[in-house]
Amino acid sequence: MKAMENACRLLSGEHASALRAYGDDGAEEIRLRIGRRPSVLIDGWERTFSKTPVTETDLLRLLEVATGASLHTAAPALADGYLSYRGLRIGLCGTVVVQESKVCTFRSFTSAAIRLPAEHRGICDALADEILSSGLGSTLVLSPPGGGKTTALRELIRRFSDAGLRVCVVDERNELAAVDGAVPQFDLGSRCDVLTGVDKASGTTMLLRAMNPQIIAMDEIGRRDDLAAVEQAAGCGVWLLASVHARDRDELLLREGYRRLLERRVFRYLITIRGSGAARRYSLSREGA
């Protein structure tokens, strides 16, 4: 509910009222495309919720509110194509500015996808108990985009943390803890330390040096640097808890970096998420078993 209210703050008055009237029953995303009616994603289907099409002013407004009128503070995230706002991840599309072969920022915006984080307590309790009882090990959560990886990862962090383990989180996109004004919006358990806004490689080094973690958690490892961070942490006596975009193990093996991680037995457990909405299923498999 809070996520929906935060999302409404990003929308123009008319769109916000229409969205509030529509309700947030199972809403996963809000999609805004210039010239089209805004829509909300529920169970994989987009449904429009306002009669007024989205304008460029609506997107600029969203951008200003999301960055607190401080685009300069969001430049690194913007170069990766997203913004974070109170635990919401806002994906952006438009024309990018590339300088010296690197994406710097956007020249103009054409659409935005506001991802609404969900908190489903207990969805991973059985998996967490199984991992704890059969011997803790690095765990990788797999699902396609929008499959519920972050929600599952958040639940695992909370469970492990409450089970007495020191869990340190590299929350690059501020989605796991959704820290707002130094206060995490999601409960990550009683023994959890969160490092926000830093890339995974640097964050992992900082945590290893300073925080004496037993588990390091990070969401969506995808870039080469992220894999390097995983490999770095794997050899340092800490367990890893991470998520990655992949339908299943076979799909993951198609990618060189991940194949190497699996071959080197960096991860002991794989959790695969299938289905969507209330029909999501979570299965645990043990690597090398």
């Binding site: 703050r9 990003l10 008055g13 407004r61 200003e64 509110v65 960055t67 607190g68 009128a69 401080s70 685009l71 300069h72 503070t73 430049a75 710097c104 920022t105």
Partner: protein, 169 residues
């Protein structure tokens, strides 16, 4: 009775002269404080890349008088961000608190407001520097002409008062 009336008239003219001088001094103080604030803003942006809400609060705490009221007004107004653009909040705060600025000084400040928060850091710093340079120029010019303006203001007020008294005696 007539003498008392003439005395009142003369005092009123002197009071107008004093008010004019006070306004000149206030403008100088506002320009000085704005220059300081711009310097601090540039430093904060360059070293900490501070977000504007935090920056406005900081500048409000570190400033005095009208400039303090200006940044406080913006910081408080940021709760309305979304309903109003940042540039509109800035403009409203400037118009409500910095009455003593001359049109071209106000224009420089409003230009800064319309650019702040919209660009990446380097460009942002460039805009702040440009505004800072303009305001410093205005401050120096105001400082140089200050003594003369005060003398002329008080002189004219006293002369006008004396003339009125003589004419009406």
């Amino acid at each position: 009775m007539k003498t008392a009336g003439m005395l009142c008239l003369f005092t009123a003219c002197l009071w107008i002269g004093a008010a004019y001088c006070r306004a000149r001094r206030q403008r100088l103080a506002v320009l000085r404080d704005l220059c300081k604030a711009m310097e601090q803003m540039e430093g904060e942006l360059a070293s900490r890349s501070s977000p504007l809400p935090e920056l406005c609060r900081l500048l409000a705490t570190g400033s005095e008088g009208d400039v303090r009221a200006f940044f406080t007004r913006i910081a408080d107004g940021l709760a309305e961000l979304g309903e109003l653009r940042f540039s509109e909040l800035w403009k409203r705060a400037a118009r409500d608190t910095l009455f003593c600025l001359r049109p071209f000084e106000m224009d420089a400040l409003l230009r800064l407001g319309s650019s702040l928060g919209r660009y990446e850091l380097d460009r942002q710093l460039g805009v702040v520097k440009a505004c800072s340079r303009t305001l410093e120029r205005c401050y120096r010019a105001a400082q140089q002409s200050m003594t003369g303006e005060l003398k002329v203001g008080m002189g004219l007020a006293a002369a006008a008062g004396a003339l009125l008294v003589i004419a009406m005696w």
